[in-house]
Every structure is written in structure tokens, then in C-alpha cells.
Amino acid sequence: MAVDPDETGQLVRDAAGGDEIAWRGLVDRFSSLVWSVARAHRLGNADAADVFQTTWLRLAEHITRIEQPERVGAWLATAARRECLQCLRTAGRAVPTDDMDRLDLAPAADSPTEEAVLAAEQEREDAARAALLWRAVGRLPARCQELLRILMASPPPSYAEVAAALGLPLGSIGPTRARCLQRLRAEMGGIRNEVAPS
């Protein structure tokens, strides 16, 4: 479900008035986006945590002065991106993660009942599909990995938020997304062929 900008604007105005429930609403709505920005910049866990916390602390301090409350998602994405760039330039802090390449298949269940066997089989299929997808993402060019990681935020970010998160022009998001998803399918096909050559 996409986010309603009017509701977002109201949450910002209510939080600015001191309403803590509204603040929690903003956290629920945008924490995944802020986290995705840190992930897309390939920060290690500690740095990603710092970026995340600093971004929210900064919003809390500025909450009464957000000029376009309905666009607070883009404000957060921009703030998080700046923190990421700063973090990557701090000596000794940039420890790239290879999370995108990591393959961790879910352990197979060993329950004896028929239902459990079927469920386990479905689970294995799902896990295999998930592993394939994740691995294919890891093979994409960096720009595609970054874009897709932002698009993976939940709820789905607006293109304006994606553009702010990556410092890209708004008009480039749609076409790049289409190209990257197409490329992702090709990589998935490639991996399938490697696993089971015809």
C-alpha cells in the first residue's frame, strides 16, 4: 500500500505539536525507507545504525520546521543519504558489506506428518526462489542494486523519495527501474542455467 501524502503531512503537523503517537506513525511509515538508504550505500551494521539514528534524531529536532510536511519522506531520504556520504568518507568507517551476495537457504524442516512434508517442500521452493532472487540482485551493477534496495522499502517509497535517497533526477527513476528489473530477470535466468544446464 502506497503512502497517502495528506496523512503524512498531518502526522508531521501533529508531531510538531507534541503528539507522540503521530511521531510513532512517522517512524512506522518511514523507518524502512531510512534503513534502505543505509543498506543501499553498503554501510556496515554499526554505521547503518548510526545513520538511521542520526536521521531520526535530526527529524525530531526539526519537526516544527519542516517546510513541506507531506514530503517528509523525501526530507528523511535526503538527510539519510547525506549521513551515508559523510560516513563513507570518515576514515576507517567504510566497511562494505556483502549482504547482497550472501546466500543463506532456510534450514529444511524435518517434521514427519504429510502436511508438514508438503509445507516443508513449499518452504524449500520459496527459499530456493528467494535465494535465487537475492543472488541475482547481487550480480546487478551497483546502480541497479542501489535503486532496487531503495524500492524494496516498505511501504513502497514514492519516486520522489527514491530520487532523494540516491541523489538522482526524478525523471530517471521510472526508466532505470524498468531497466534494472529487466536485467534482474536476465540474471535469474542466467543463474538457473548455471545450476541446471540444458
Binding site: A15, G18, E20, W23, R24, V27, S31, S32, V34, W35, S36, R39, A46, D47, A49, D50, V51, F52, Q53, T54, W56, L57, R58, L59, A60, E61, H62, I63, T64, R65, R82, E83, L85, Q86, C87, R89, T90, A91, G92, R93, D99, A130, L133, W134, V137, L148, R149, L151, M152, A153, S154, P156, G174, R177, A178, L181, L184, R185
Partner: protein, 155 residues
């Protein structure tokens, strides 16, 4: 504008990310608690310069081992801070302008450390843990005027 197979694939990626890289629970909690750090009576000194974000050639020449310089400003007050990495910790050396004594509270993680700025507006801290930090300046007792808090930065 968006066609369906792409939307489906994107939704699948979204579920995968939620499963494999969810926002850690303790960070969600920290984001909720960030609201409590607001200082509604204080003026906010905004970050106006950060040598790490200044991508001109001079900053590239300076190299990664040079101290980081940040500046905050509000009204007529400026706070310049030099951040030095001391092993895993970060030390601050600051200058308030116009110069004058003040109590400088360094707010970081769950803790607050107070240091004193001297008559010339200079202050320094011992090693601090890396992570989000913000300064809060209190004018000396009797001097009046609102407190000033700086933007949060990641040390």
C-alpha cells in the same frame, strides 16, 4: 506507467528485504525515543559546513587523516568543531563565536557529558563513542538568553 510484471517482481523483492534485512527492533525503538530528545525551548544551530561533505579539491587534498571540521550557526552564534579520531573514540575541540563562557553539553547515545567553554569560547572533550551526537549550549547562570542545540551529526 508501471506495468504489472514489474510491480509483482518489485513486491517480491520487498517481501524478501523485509525478511532478510528488516529494521532491527532496537533501532525502531531508538527512532521512537528520538522524539524525547527534542528541546523545544532551544534555538537550533544548523549544520552549515562539514568537511566530509565538502567535495572540492582542497578537501580531497586534505586526506582522510586530517580532522573533520563542522560548523553550526544560528542567529549571530557560530560553533566550530574539530573532530579527531582517537582510536575507536572521537574527541571534540570547539570554538564558540562570539567568544564567551558557556556550559556545553555533549549529547550522545544515552548519555550527556558537560564541558565548560572558557572566556575565549573554547572547549574540548575527552574521547566519546562514535555515533549520533549533538551539542547543547547553556549560557552561564544569570546571562539569560535561550539555550542553543546543534543539529545531530554522526561522530
Amino acid at each position: 506507467m508501471r506495468d504489472e510484471p514489474d510491480d509483482q517482481l518489485e513486491a517480491e523483492l520487498r517481501r524478501l528485504a523485509a525478511d532478510r534485512e528488516p529494521v532491527p527492533a532496537e533501532l525502531l525503538q531508538a527512532a521512537r525515543e528520538a522524539f524525547g530528545w527534542r528541546d523545544i525551548d532551544a534555538e537550533i544551530a544548523e549544520l552549515v559546513y562539514d568537511s566530509l561533505l565538502d567535495s572540492d579539491e582542497a578537501s580531497l587534498v586534505r586526506g582522510p587523516d586530517e580532522p573533520r571540521l563542522v560548523s553550526f550557526t544560528v542567529g549571530g552564534t557560530t560553533i566550530d568543531v574539530e573532530v579527531t579520531s582517537t582510536g575507536p573514540g572521537r574527541s571534540l575541540m570547539g570554538q564558540i563565536a562570539p567568544p564567551g563562557p558557556a556550559v556545553v553539553e555533549i549529547r550522545h547515545q544515552a548519555d550527556t557529558v558537560s564541558v565548560t567553554a572558557d572566556e575565549l569560547g573554547r572547549f574540548r572533550s575527552g574521547p566519546l563513542p562514535p555515533g549520533p551526537a549533538s551539542l547543547r549550549l547553556r549560557p552561564p547562570a544569570g546571562a539569560g538568553g535561550p539555550a542553543v542545540v546543534t543539529d545531530w551529526i554522526s561522530l
